[in-house]
Structure formats: structure tokens, C-alpha cells
Amino acid sequence: MWKWHAGERSASQHQNDVAMAIAAVANAAAIFITDTFTSIESAVAVFYVIIMLLAADFLSRDGIVASALVCALLSTVSFLVLHGGQGDLGSAVRLVGSLSALGVTTALLFRRETNRQALLASHTTTRLSEDRYRSIFQRSPVALWEQDVTGLKSVLDRLKADGVTDIEAYMQAHPQFLEACTHAIRSVAINDAMADMLGHDHDADVTGPIARLIPHDCPALAGFIKAAFEGQRRSESKGRIRDAQGRVKIVLMTVEFPEQEADLDRTVVGLIDISRQEGAQVTMMAAQSELARASRASAVGALSASVAHELSQPLGALLANAQACLRWLRRVPPDMPAANKAAERMLRDGIRASEIVKTTKSMLSRSPLALGAIELVPLVEETRALLEFELIRHRVTLYVFAEGDVSDVVAARSELQQVLINLVTNAIQAIEEAASLERHVVIRVANHEKGLVSLTVRDTGPGISVDCIEKIFTPYYTTKAVGMGMGLAICKSTVEAQGGQLTARNHEVSGAVFELLLPAVPSPDLRRSYDVRATRGELQ
């Protein structure tokens, strides 16, 4: 009958309940006596309702029903005692009225108690669910991080109100914004797996702004903010995080923002440590870059070695003939016919040597080319992938723009790739040497007039000096301390062999621009005759 279970009420509250119970019983007795033994005509029994209201505080549902029955009984007994069997209509109505009031009140109190029980049950369910979540969160083998991003949301809402629509542009224009954001997002909890990953104890306190753990140049940060700004649900990217020793680890971060705004304080971010894979990736890219460099060097090296060898023959003969000629001339008397013959042989040997040189030059552009239809943008992206290590190492950003629907070109894939690698590597080196603050290379691809496609490589280096610009494509010309200076000369011949052109100029703002013009694949209904040079290879 008692509403409260053991332990639900404190000692003083329990004493109050007991006092109330006693008071209720006393009042009930008083009402009964008044009703039965006095001649007060009003519906005294209605006052039983007050008892019920008081008693509901400490009675269970069964108790409420029982008390109601008792009060009803008392009222009825009073009536019978007072009026015997001959009650008049007035008193009968008064009894019915009292009983009705009692009934209605009891029903309402009963329902109130039922609702209270239901609410308690629902609270218990919620709490159990919360415990389960906590347990799963804490014990998950994946590193999980609970964050409160409400601060970030208000910052972004403010920006939107100020009229900012392109958050990426805003972030680029305000470099300190990212760091400010790491102070707006708060760390709520980390699970055991994440504590292990960071080298913290399981119960270490990592609450506070995430700036403690996330360096402001973390690559995942911009993506995270952009997703939050644009209302995207998910964001996933590589990021950097500081561990307990302050070392930076590479991790893969994924976040799914909660649906309800009210839950933003419980945003969960999953992390996977990919430091080792990144290390392997860096090593692999370094190896690829080295391979690309070595294969270029070896090709040029092999060519040089064979040319040197071939030239030594006629030069040897030339020297011997010159020596002989001199000896014939110095004889006493000089042997003129012999000297003549020697001189003629010298001429012949000299011509032979120059033929070798000519052949070499054309050999650079005459190695069999497998021509095909090449899509430029994917090729440029491949070049970017091959040179990613170099780009990251020298902190140079590569931008690729395609203007409109660019045609495919007729070219030899690997040779063109070599040219691109050469041009971009030169661009990176120029930027590095000039120690420019602005460090980017921009590749633009666009349709050009006369059935050509233009690909320009622009750097933010020092540009090409006026006296160099003439000689830049000549063999053996270089301003670098290391290198033979063959790169651009070979590039130019390679491009020309494919029916294209390679030129260099300075950009109007800063840096140099190298422009590659390549023949576009002709549209099927427009047959045109190719340049003779382009058909020297085999059209696949």
C-alpha cells in the first residue's frame, strides 16, 4: 500500500509520510463523527476528497483504491445511521454527490500514480540504454572520441549570418581561423582504444579544447569544418593528432554528425592509426620518384656513353692521320703526296664524326614512338601522383585546371609523361631555389586554335632571365650545379617528334610558363592529314 519502496525516501521524508498518514486518519475520523453525529446538513462527506488528496502522496495505487473504499463506506454508514431507511431525496442526493466526487478524485489520483510509474520505467530504460552505450563506447576496439561541437556550430552560424557562403575561401583567406576552431570544439571523452593510441592512461583527463590534441595544420580539420558548415552528415580524411609525448601521429578520421542539433555535444569521431602505412607510403613514393629520376638519368647516360664510344673511333683515326700528315710534311724533303693523302683521310674522318653527332640528335627524337589518343587530365593527375612526395617535401601545391571540354591529344604516353615530370620537377626546383613564399605550380589544359591542345606549366619561381630564355632549350645548357642540362633539350625534341611544340616564357605576375602544344585527336567527321613528324611512330 505504501507508495515508496524502501530506500526511496530519506528518514525525515519518511517521518513526514507517517505523520501525514496519521493526520489523514484523524481527519477521516473527525469527518465521520461530524457527519454522523451532528446535524450539519451540507455534504460533509465531500471532505473525504481532501483526505484522498493528502493520502495520495504516500499511498500506492492499491492504497488509493482501499482508502477510497473506506471513505465511501464511512459516508454510507453515516447516511444510514442518520436517516435509517427513510432518507429524503435531499440527503440521498447529497450522498450520491459525495460518492461521485470521491470516485472521480480516486480515478484521477489512480491515473496520476499510473503515469508516474510509467515515467519511472521510461527513465530506467533510458538509463540502461545510456549505460550500454557507455560500455560499447569505452570498450570498442576502434579508437573513439566524443566531442562537443556546439561551439563550432555557433561560430559557423555567425559566419553564415555575416554572409559567408564559401567556407573554403574563407579558411584560405583567414589562416588563423582553423586554430580558432580547435578552441571552439571541446573534447568530452575518449575511449580505451584511443587512450592506448595516444599513450594516455585509461582514465586520463583529456577534456578541454581539442587544440591540445589537434595541431592547427591538421589536414582533416578543414574537411571537418566544411562538412559542418555545409550540413553534410559525414566527413572522412587523413589527419594529424598529438599523442601524450607530443609526437604527431597520422590517423584516418571519420565523423558522422548527429541528426539532432541538441546532440551536437555528443559527436563521435572514429580514428584509425595509419602512421605506419603512411610511412610505407612515403617510402614507396620516394622510391617511385627515385625510379622515375633514375630511369631518366640512365636513358640519357646510356645515350651519352654510346655516343662517346662511337665518336672515339673517327676521332682516333683523325688524330693519327694528323700526326702522320705532320711527319710527312716535316720530312726532309717533305713527302707531299703522302701528306695530301693523310689530309684527305683527316677530312673524311671529320665528316664521319659530324655525321655521328647528327644521327645522335635525330636519334633523340626518332626512337620508335607508340602514338595513341591520350586524355591529358588523367595523365596530369598521374604525374601529380608520381611526384606527390616531391611536392609534399618542398611544400609546393599543384593545381590542375581544365578549361572546358578539352580534346584528347595524339601523343606517345610514356614520352609525354616524361616531359611532364621534367617540367614539373623543374618548376619545383625553381620555387625551391628562389625560396618563394607563394609555392604553387599551376597546370592548365585548354583547347587551342588550329586543332591543337595547350598545356601550360606555370611556377611561382624567379622566372627565366632574358639572356637565358633563348638558350634554355639548347643541349648542355644549365644553370643548375648538378645536371647535364639535357632535360629541356630532350623534352623539346620529344615533343616535336610527336608533332607538338614546346616554348617558354615568363608569366606576367611571377615565375615561368612552359607551354606544350599538342595535336588534338581529330573529330571523326573531319579527316585531316597529319604532320609528317607525327606519323613517324605507329598509330595504335
Binding site: H309, S312, Q313, P314, L315, G316, A317, L318, L319, A320, N321, Q323, A324, R327, W328, R331, A338, K341, A342, R345, R348, D349, R352
Partner: protein, 123 residues
């Protein structure tokens, strides 16, 4: 006597044969050119040659192989290599095989003539 000295020039490059031949003639040496090791071996009187100027890389039998062959026959001729292949391994093999000298191309003619004259002064 110098006019008795016969030198064989074995080199697949005709220009070298002619040039070397003429230089040696200006020093008073007689010489004969062969375009391959086989041609030299097929020639009649090999004993007549006191000195052989030899290239390393030739079609067919290489200079080193010819050297080995001659040594097995106990041919006493002086063998001097002239080559544009300057690999140390080849040089070692040649000298170990009994070559008098291993010269690189273009040949240092003063040195060559000195070597040849040394050969003939020994006879």
C-alpha cells in the same frame, strides 16, 4: 733493321687501319691491316709479324680471345691493345694474358711508337 719490322693492325675500323698504317710508315715501320681476328689468323705467314696492334671489340672473335689463342700457340709477338673500352676488368685480363700494353683510343701515338721501338730493339 726497321724495314724488316712487320706490324699487324687488327681493327674492324678501316679508317683506323689506314691512319695507323700511315703513321707507322712515317716512322719507317711496315704494316698490314686486318679487319677481323679471323682474317688475321687466315693470313699466310703469321710468323712474319713481330707486333700486333689489336682492338678489343670486333665482330666474331674478340681481341681477348685472339690473345688467348696466340698465347696458347706460344706466339712470341708483342701484342698491344688499342681500344675505346676502358673497363678495368678487360685491361686486367689483357695484361694478365700477356699483352704488352693496353692503350685507350684515341691512341697516344708517341707512347705507341716508343713501345714498338722497344720491341724491335730487343730483337
Amino acid at each position: 733493321m726497321k724495314s724488316n719490322c712487320m706490324i699487324a693492325i687488327v681493327d674492324d675500323d678501316l679508317a683506323i687501319q689506314e691512319a695507323m698504317g700511315d703513321v707507322l710508315r712515317s716512322y719507317g715501320f711496315r704494316s698490314l691491316g686486318f679487319s677481323s681476328a679471323e682474317e688475321f689468323l687466315a693470313s699466310g705467314d703469321r710468323k712474319a709479324f713481330d707486333c700486333i696492334l689489336l682492338d678489343v671489340k670486333m665482330p666474331g672473335l674478340s681481341g681477348l680471345q685472339l690473345l688467348e689463342l696466340l698465347r696458347r700457340e706460344r706466339d712470341p709477338s708483342t701484342i698491344i691493345f688499342m681500344t675505346s673500352h676502358q673497363e678495368p676488368n678487360i685491361r686486367k685480363t689483357a695484361l694478365a694474358g700477356g699483352a704488352r700494353a693496353f692503350l685507350g683510343k684515341p691512341v697516344d701515338l708517341d707512347l705507341l711508337v716508343t713501345l714498338i721501338e722497344e720491341t724491335f730493339s730487343d730483337r
